[in-house]
Amino acid sequence: MKVPPGLSPSDFARAISAFELAVGKQWVFTAEEDVALYRDPYSPFLGEPDELVASAAVAPDGVEQVQKVVRIANQYKIPIYPVSTGKNLGYGGSAPVLSGSVVLDLKRMNRVIEVNEENAYALVEPGVSYFDLYRYIQEKGLKLWVDVPDPGWGSPIGNALDRGGGYLMAQFRNHFDSHCGMEVVLANGDILRTGMGAMPGAQTWQNYKSGFGPWVDGIFSQSNFGVVTKMGFWLMPEPDAYLSGTVYAAKHADLILLVKILNYLENTRVTNGMPDLGSPLLGIPMISEIDVWNRGEGPPPPGPELASLLAKSEGGYSAELEQYALAHGISYWSCKLSFYGPTKANQANWEFAKEKFSAIAGAKFVDNESFKLPLTPEQCERVHKPQFGIPSLTMFSIGARSRTNPDPTNGHMWFSPIIPRTGEAIFEANRVFSQAAKKYGIPALAFSLPSCYWERAFIFIFAFPVTRDVATNQKNRAAFRALVQTAAEHGWGEYRTAPAYQDVIMNTYSYNDHSLLRFHETLKDAVDPSGILSAGRYGIWPRHLRKTQA
Amino acid sequence: MRVPPGVTPQDFSDAIKQWQEALGKHWVFTSEEDVDLYRDSYSPFWHEDLEPIPAAAVAPDRLEQVQAVVRIANTYKIPLWTISTGKNLGYGGSAPLLSGSVVLDLKRMDRVLEVNDKNHYALVEPGVSYFDLYRYIQDRKLKVWIDVPDPGWGSLIGNALDRGGGYTPLRDHFDAHCGMEVVLASGEVVRTGMGALPGSQTWQQYRYGFGPYVDGIFSQSNFGVVTKMGFWLLPEPAGFKSGTVMVQRHDDLVPLIETLNYLMNSNLVQGTTTIGSPLLMSRAARSASGGGSALVMSPGGPSIEALEKIGRDQNLPYWNCEMSFYGPPKVVEAEWEYAKEKYSAIPEARFVDGETYKLPFDPNDVDKLPKRQFGIPSLTVFGMMGRSEGHMWFSPIIPMTGEAVFQAQEVFGQAYHDMGVPAIGQIFVFPSSFFPRSFVILCGFPIYHDVEKNQRSRQVFKGLVKAAAEHGWGEYRTHTAFMDTVSDVYSYNNHSLRRFHETIKDAVDPNGILSPGRCGVWPKRMRKAQS
């Protein structure tokens, strides 16, 4: 049996017995085959000594048991690593940052505590998945939508704490921002309720976010200052209707004006859904088209002449390529806008958007299918589900074997830099990252478009493949780290990452001699002096492990 | 010369000299007449010994000077009290909570560092007021709007850090911020979010950066001195429309608010809404309520049936609500039509169509516009108060439902009754939704230069805080005079949240020099004395 670093086998055995007493023997996993299930299924360290593994796992079923487990961990100085549903694939899965930690698996804490239709909120435990909350709401016939990320089996709490995003109206797409109120078990086993929850018998815990005094919620996201055991979320009322329309721009340089107009329309909430960028010419699907294309139902592959022009182009552009596109009526850029609201308002907003986009010479428009809500079951099967708050696992076609991909990977790791919300930044980022990819020997797409999960910023989400070959994985990891540095040199930082890169990336946030990290460490030492919670998460190491990591 | 508590006169004198060297003699205020200007103009302790008076004030004009001030204060363990523009009237103004603190006045740091009208954000220093930023934008003809609270002379940073609100779609001021720069108690500078990446290109575009999101702990607190803050701005919308719904019966408030919730949570109605009542504001209703506010339901007051009868007799709706719609004219008109359709499920609901504005507006028309909804700063609100020497705000948050409003009317009515407050003194106001999904009942208690009246007011205020807490309602913000009282009611699990705040305080400000007592957070060395 693996033993956590710094612990004697006999102490660990005593701790295990204590854990068993607290949660029941069957919910403490120490057998190798059981603990192996806490590895990262997409581990980029497969077969290497550096692979992150747990020493054991403990699965409590309620707050009181979580408190007991945390107190035991504190007593024996055992590093524990909480996971909610543990499905953070591409960002580390359920494996701890510090190998040998005991995973605190909160999946069994799967109660929906309340869903309030009038004030449109839910209060849930960490083990509740998007699928679970969706079903609860459907079965009660409530007119509320949950904002889901791509994989529906994740946890609203876990996803919000890692600051993930989704697909509905802007304020709901930002999963951390749409939370309201938390309950946290601190490293000393004490329970904290934030915001209005600090009022006993609180009537507004999920109505008003910040309560009174310092608003602490944010420090529990992407961090290791406490174990979150309940969280409130604001949900989206089911709209009256959905409409989408796509604008097509003909020329390469049009991207700049397109983004500028898009920003205006988005920031004034003329379009309130997630903008979706694509390139018909360069063969880049919009997010809502990915699955369709993967099925082989996308546009036909380019003919020989176009293929040749594409291959010869530099960063997705050449004068000849643009000439060809114009001559054949193939648009350079597409941008799908979504509108949620009453039919007439959606239509008026789309008309206005078209008016604004007409400033782009030669812009074309397509009115896509619009839907009165709720959708019929048949419609549910057809649509891009996340845009209707329907959880699924469709996105796992990425990297999977399919008609268009005969070479499946063993998973992926996401490289996710945030770049400014301008067309110029898209061009520059492509130039910089292509150059870097060439330099570090990794395959790169000719051109990539960012996503609009967040208002007012762009995010590139590049999938680095994970393979079963150690040498390839090592090369890809080195390239990933190099790209992190390249991005930082251009003032672009990542928004989230897997444990393998948390130190490397936090190191780029180095303003004033890493004063922010040092501030994080000050907080860490104060709220978790024994350093038992998720040691190393997002670069925050407990004092006793700090020098060795530097 | 006053000396801060726990500091020797010699140490204070040394500190003053060092501050003078760092800032220039001119900007260190020690004379009584200068320091008096930092008292709370609306102090509820006027003429009493309890009134907190600063020992001195210092006014830096740049980041390095702020760092120097803080380091010197740390050396001598001198309590500082940071203000931005210092216009937090009704919540304590520019006066410290702890008498004898030195006010750190950031008004001179008044640079607008950037306004980006393509990505719609601003980066400002603490001394920049809403008037300042508005003029900056107008002078350059930038097509962005700011969101203003009632008084326009406040600081964007100061207001956001006290978690205030305004009227347009970006009305939640703290929520609309993006990125901060903070001077810690050690004098060290931290930039949050993407600002922690040197040369960052997205400091005002993406809030969270990487790792723990710390910004929130600097709001309503004393963990650092904020010296820069980014704010998201609203691009000038294409149009605006307001519309008012009126309902006849008392119970209609329930479906009215249900519909309002749906419209607001769907982003159709954007901006702050306030529930009103032509009936309850009428002379007949007030007279039936003993000359006081008919909004509060005190025992012995008129029954709902009696009030409804007045409403029928005088053709006064029981409740109304004015809503704001932002967007192209065709859109706002469609949204208003839709809203009317939804409200029409309430029998006898009636409507007043507000004007549809096509934007941009003609600058000459500015005084005809609903300024708050258009992000135009003013000081109009000061004309709306009754005759007094100021006010202090009692600001409980209740759920956004009709039932909660009814309950609040009764609970506060009962509380006033139990405290023997006469009808005319029973301050209560209509609930406003400054923040999504909740109502704030922003009651202004008048302040007089009369010790007895103020003492009584303070007593009643505390009684209301207690009554609210007994029903699970807390204040979202409060006057320095009541910070301990309010902090005390957030007592879940033996005050675990405050103990957590104190844990952080002791770590980030071990000498306890930054704004001691703000929102109930005292430094360790002062804690026993206060508990």
Binding site: L37, G201, T394, F396 | -
Partner: protein
């Protein structure tokens, strides 16, 4: 014995007070499932419900099922792309895939799919295997 009764009431109140509002600590335990509707096992073979709950999101019929798409590309018709129509699966094979994963399909913990549930899924998927 009134006295004792009162003590019990006080003790209960103290427990409730320590845990905050009782209502906020209850709620409905949601049986885990990666489906958008609750599955009924009525008239279905053993293990059907578990298969639907944990496998159908990727291995079911219709669009957007990456598992089915992958198997279709792999077998190109030589075997059914739908897992639950296969006749050649064994319990060991099923358990191996669930506990070890393959390609982008991750493995699953016992708090997600317990051993008992895995037995049921294996039983369901091997029901057509004549051997």
């Amino acid at each position: 014995m009134k006295h004792t009764g009162l003590l019990w009431v006080i003790a209960l109140a103290a427990i409730l007070a320590a845990h905050g509002s009782a209502a906020q600590d209850q709620g409905v335990r949601i049986p885990s499932s990666w489906t958008t509707t609750t599955v009924s096992g009525q008239g279905q073979p053993a293990g059907y419900v578990e298969y639907q709950k944990y496998c159908s999101a990727c291995h079911g019929p219709g669009a957007g099922r990456p598992g089915t798409a992958a198997l279709e590309a792999k077998y190109k018709g030589a075997e059914p792309a739908l897992l639950d129509q296969r006749t050649d699966l064994t319990p060991e094979l099923v358990k191996t895939y669930v506990r070890n994963g393959i390609s982008v399909m991750p493995f699953f913990r016992k708090t997600e799919i317990s051993d008992a549930e895995l037995e049921a899924i294996a039983r369901y998927l091997t029901r057509n295997n004549k051997r």
